[in-house]
């Protein structure tokens, strides 16, 4: 049992939402920076100490250009919490992390044709390394009320029960071999093929991607039985598994 406890400790962590300012960059960059400077001139330290994210969805910047932009902001004492709206492949250890706003949209940003001089080789290496980390997560003890198990990169399997007020959030599918009394969200990264399976359903909420149903909206006949949920187009379907 001691090993169980040990294992869960290392696997369980919290998902927490924070409020942050989001800067949406409007090209051209020079004008945008000038407008930013004008604003900072009026109220110095307006952003000091606040978490700030940068939305680059309106632009097509190369990793080198993004790095330059980040250092331009640092000069202005604006330190970024993360960047959203760029291709995950552009992730680079020296850039702030890529945020997906919980929706995990896959953005296809074509590589700039007239590539900026000498694109760093590291961005290409990073995603390759990341692919190997994708793994399913196995929890072999009950998930208690208030605990949150998150695996954005893959499936989650729970051998015990999931308590009322506990949450399981997976990028892939969720398998619960005990009773689900809490909340299960599969396909959190936008994977529409993710499913939720539970041996006995008494849950509070089921979600796949951004589609969800609360216990109230789920037929009573499904309660206490083996249940699965999947996405059929834009409809969340829930049925008994027999």
């Amino acid at each position: 049992m001691s090993s169980l406890t040990c294992q869960r400790q290392s696997l369980t962590f919290r998902a927490r939402s924070y409020t942050a300012f989001v800067f949406t960059l409007q090209p051209p960059i020079e004008d945008w920076l000038a407008a930013l400077d004008a604003m900072l001139e009026r109220s110095k330290g307006f952003f000091a100490g606040h978490p700030i994210a940068l939305d680059l969805s309106a632009t097509r910047l190369s990793p080198v250009e993004i790095a330059e932009l980040v250092s331009e902001l640092e000069v202005r004492n604006i330190r970024l919490l993360g960047i959203e709206g760029i291709n995950p492949a552009a992730a680079h250890p020296r850039l702030p992390p890529i945020l997906r706003g919980g929706r995990g949209q896959d953005i296809e940003v074509p590589e700039p044709v007239a590539a900026a001089p000498a694109p760093a080789p590291a961005p290409a290496a990073a995603p390759a390394a990341k692919k190997q980390e994708v793994a399913s997560l196995m929890i072999d003890s009950p998930v208690r009320s208030g605990q949150s198990v998150v695996n954005i990169d893959g499936d989650i399997t729970v051998l015990g029960s999931v308590g009322s007020g506990a949450e399981i959030i997976a990028g892939g599918s969720i398998h619960i071999y005990g009773t689900l009394r809490g909340l299960a969200m599969a396909g959190a990264g936008g994977n529409a093929r993710a499913r939720i399976f539970c041996h006995r359903f008494e849950g509070e909420l089921l979600a796949i991607g951004s589609h969800y149903k609360t216990a109230d909206e789920i037929e009573d006949s499904l309660r206490r039985g083996p249940t699965q949920a999947w996405l059929d187009g834009n409809t969340l379907k829930i049925s008994a598994m027999n």
Partner: protein
């Protein structure tokens, strides 16, 4: 450990308030002392202390846990010996301070010192999951989770079990914190009418071993009003018997489980199914 004793630190906890933590701490502490163990009950409910009243010691409190933590008093000065049982002691909480006065190092020091002097250290946790509750459970070897057979109490207990598995010193070392479920305020007639969760439901949800089922009783209220643990005040009453049986199970004895007011020990099977 100077006397070669292996002291056990118990925390009596629940998450939810009003389920019977303090009553149970007093009853179990007195029962352990009655069975010959050297026991200290420690009130962690700083600012809202009650354990002194339950033991009828409220007029003898001079120094308290916070005084000891702050170095204002020595542990020996703060310990109050029970008038009825010579091997039962109380370490009271401060009523004038709040939980912020509890420090992690201070609590660690006090518990370490108590371990050298007692066989059992029974910590009465405040309700909630904040500082007072987490420090009360911090050094526990075993936890008694007090639960009423109703949904809100059961969910709060589930939450507390999760915290016991992550925030205690033992859990942080990768060890298992022993957990025991004590179901209190059990109404046999309400259970029969399906107005409460059944014992089976509670065990199924929490999946930890059952230590005892304490029936709701006038005797519990009467005992607290006269400032005496029910196990001393009405030792032959149904709740006191249930507490005594729970105490003996805690000491490792194998005693069949009875659902109050039901003649057969139908829970033997469930109790035998030790989740740990």
């Amino acid at each position: 450990m100077s006397e070669g004793k292996s002291a056990r630190v118990l925390v009596v906890t629940s998450g939810k308030g009003g389920v019977g933590k303090t009553t149970s701490t007093a009853a179990l502490g007195a029962a352990l002392a009655h069975l010959g163990e050297k026991v200290v009950v420690v009130d962690f409910d700083v600012g809202l202390r009650n354990l002194d009243l339950m033991l009828g010691a409220e007029r003898r409190v001079v120094f308290d846990l916070i005084n000891v933590i702050n170095g204002v008093a020595k542990l020996q000065q703060a310990l109050i010996r029970d008038k009825r049982l010579e091997n039962l002691y109380l370490l009271p909480a401060s009523q004038t301070r709040d939980k912020e006065a509890l420090t992690e190092e201070g609590v660690a020091k006090v518990i370490a010192e108590l371990r050298t002097k007692f066989d059992w250290i029974v910590c009465d946790s405040p309700a909630g999951i904040e500082r007072g509750a987490t420090l009360a459970m911090r050094h526990a070897d075993a936890a008694i989770i007090v639960t009423n057979p109703e949904v809100s109490s059961v969910r709060d207990s589930d939450r507390i079990i999760g915290l016991l598995d992550s925030k205690t010193e033992k859990a942080e070392r990768g060890e298992y914190v022993e957990k025991h479920l004590l179901i209190t305020r059990y109404h046999p007639w309400r259970a029969a009418r399906g107005e409460m969760l059944s014992i089976e439901d509670v065990l199924e949800i929490l999946s930890i071993p059952l230590l005892g089922i304490i029936p709701e009783s006038e005797e519990v209220l009467r005992a607290s009003n006269v400032g005496s643990p029910v196990t001393l005040n009405a030792a032959l009453s149904p709740p006191a018997r249930a507490y005594f049986e729970a105490t003996r199970r805690l000491k490792g004895e194998d005693i069949p489980m009875h659902v109050p007011n039901e003649s057969r020990g139908i829970l033997n099977k469930l109790f035998g199914r030790k989740a740990a």
